[in-house]
Symmetry: C2
Amino acid sequence: MNILITSGGTSEKIDDVRHLTNHATGRLGKEIALALKEESLAIHYVHGPQAVLPDNQNCQFYPIASVKELYNIMETLLTTISFDYVIHSMAVSDYELDVATDEELLAKKIAEDVLKNSFETPEDLTTIIKNSLLHSDNIPQNKQKKISSKNDKLILMMKKAPKIIGHIKQWQPNTYLIGFKLLVDVPEENLVSVAQESIVKNHADLILANDLIHIKDSQHLALLISKDGIEQRYTTKKEIAQGIKKIIVSK
Amino acid sequence: MNILITSGGTSEKIDDVRHLTNHATGRLGKEIALALKEESLAIHYVHGPQAVLPDNQNCQFYPIASVKELYNIMETLLTTISFDYVIHSMAVSDYELDVATDEELLAKKIAEDVLKNSFETPEDLTTIIKNSLLHSDNIPQNKQKKISSKNDKLILMMKKAPKIIGHIKQWQPNTYLIGFKLLVDVPEENLVSVAQESIVKNHADLILANDLIHIKDSQHLALLISKDGIEQRYTTKKEIAQGIKKIIVSK
């Protein structure tokens, strides 16, 4: 049986020194891999730069940093190997860098766009400026290897990164997909509805939904959500890992 | 003898999940603390979230994340304890978050500022927009705990963070300050001149200058710069640590 686990967080490069990342530690993915240690499984383990790794001889490791790198390795794996399960626990950045600029360069570009277009109402002007910001691939870029700190502002224009979870069933329609959703300080009904939207949109089979305010030290509250609603409740990473193991072993 | 070492990198919070950080590992600060293990020193060790830590019983640890937290702990330490040496090897972010916004909110704010001011030339218009960007504390802020990904752009307006190295001699004029400067892919003469500018500007006694392209695995080329020029050349972290130990022991 082949399993694909993603774990940890992605890291988007701003320049050769700086990067934008998230607080994912990879501890949950590690627990899941360890829970599956006894089974005769081949685990393909894709992980972010800071992720703690499981000591599991059945694991083959694929390190990635950016969402783009994650996309490439996931596409390669899912179009060449048949996976029984994909456990996509990685915290993937919603945004990637479009351009790093400063107040001088950005003001000049917006002024040019305003002067090129005529406007009558304040709403027209807002639309022109909004379009100027949306086309930030045209904004003069600070291409220094380490962006100098001479300007008062460093302006990071981030664009949407590809949604990896949305591609998994496109690459491999017959795999069983367990996705993960992290929100912060929301009511439980929101957690459930957001998870169910993800099930529909991404053709996921199950979503493990959790709230950052309920993840502390050894505690890790989580809900396993199907299209029908809450299937299971967990209170620790070990319980989550055992719950996922049970799904895999019982099928 | 009291020594203050800073090590690792800072991390600026974007929201409860995301943060902007750098590639500093803290390995160099760790080597320096380990080199000083045999000496009867009290080491106060301020470190970033991802930094590897030395196993040295003489060390008292102070974890920080943001530049603001670093500023506060450094001010407290340097105004209450007399330090013989400050070894400031931490990679401190030049910028901190001013506001996280999106194309809708930012366009509206710039349009308002343009309509409030009259302009005749393209340069006038650029200046109005530049001032609008500079006053980004007025820009409507995305205050969600986890910024949602519904907008096409996430625009991070970063402002200058306080320069910690510039405050050290203000807080404690009589300490001996060894600063660190990291550049990327520059000629050696630039490294020397930038280090010497830092010595003048920040009243540093020595600057350890290094270039990211010469830091790989076990290799770590670095120059020890004084106001007179290059004092020493090092090729590994251990050599740098021994070099700094020699300065401290010989004085």
